[in-house]
Symmetry: C2
Subunit: 127 residues, 2 copies
DNA sequence: GCGTGATTACTCGGATACAAGATGTCCGAGTTTGAGCGG
DNA sequence: CCGCTCAAACTCGGACATCTTGTATCCGAGTAATCACGC
């Protein structure tokens, strides 16, 4: 039970993309160098963020990744859900029986964390 | 990023042990049958709970496991920490640099969940 | 100078390899209960 | 009826097997910008 490194890479990359907010997209090579991770691996992670609609990619020369949409709206939870998936952390009896009281407690605990992550936007860290 | 099945087994077993609260310890065979899991595997999980001081074991014939100490005090967090460990869910830059702002946000989010789990006792589910 | 083709610098996706952790099984060792047996 | 012994019923711990997932690499395909060349 741990957050994957991929989530860590995604968060740092998004923070960087929002911080510099360039006109031109940023190449994956440059992003990977910042964190000491291989470019091909990072691109796989960023593909998930693209599919989630958080960033967009530009092919070809001078291509790369760029924040898409309103960058003030991007929360931690958006990124985590994009990378880790949206399934709940705890599955009680295989079939997610909603009557299981343990399941209910775990879900509400998870919800407490998600509320926190949803209310914290990446832009909040910019000072 | 998911809670393991072991945590699920541990929670259900603890809930059962607290519910019936017998004089004599309950054998692992009986506990395992309730959940459809092999006795040997369940005993491995319960050993962690013993080490954490939540339950105690009795060897020999008519042996088994029994709640130790005050059963009103046992929280979800106690069990989860015993099974999953107490390391934080998110480790930013390998060395847990406390200055990493991302790390700080993730830790406080995790703390929100843990507070919830700490305040919910197993005994609360008994009605 | 201008269009056209080739080259270059990128991303994208699939296939693959590797490591670690979760899950589960097997077996031998130690421990306690209880039954059986002999006095 | 008492005490001793022995077998049965347990837990405990380590070693092992298997499966899934995370992590990472490699390569071919597609794409867009740029450069080179000929007109």
């Amino acid at each position: 039970m741990k957050y994957s490194k991929a989530t860590n890479y995604a968060l740092h990359t998004m923070l960087y993309l929002i911080a510099i907010a360039p006109e031109r997209p940023v190449g994956v090579q440059q992003l990977a160098d910042k964190q000491g991770v291989s470019p091909t691996y990072l691109s796989k992670i960023l593909t998930k963020l693209v599919k989630a609609g958080l960033i967009e990619s530009a092919s070809g020369a001078n291509g790369g990744y760029r924040v898409k949409g309103n960058k003030e709206d991007i929360s931690f939870l958006d990124i985590i859900h994009a990378v880790e998936g949206t399934t709940s952390l705890f599955e009680c009896c295989g079939s997610e029986d909603p009557r299981c009281v343990i399941q209910q407690v775990m879900l509400s605990a998870e919800d407490a964390m998600e509320q926190h992550l949803k209310n914290t936007k990446l832009i909040d860290l910019m000072k």
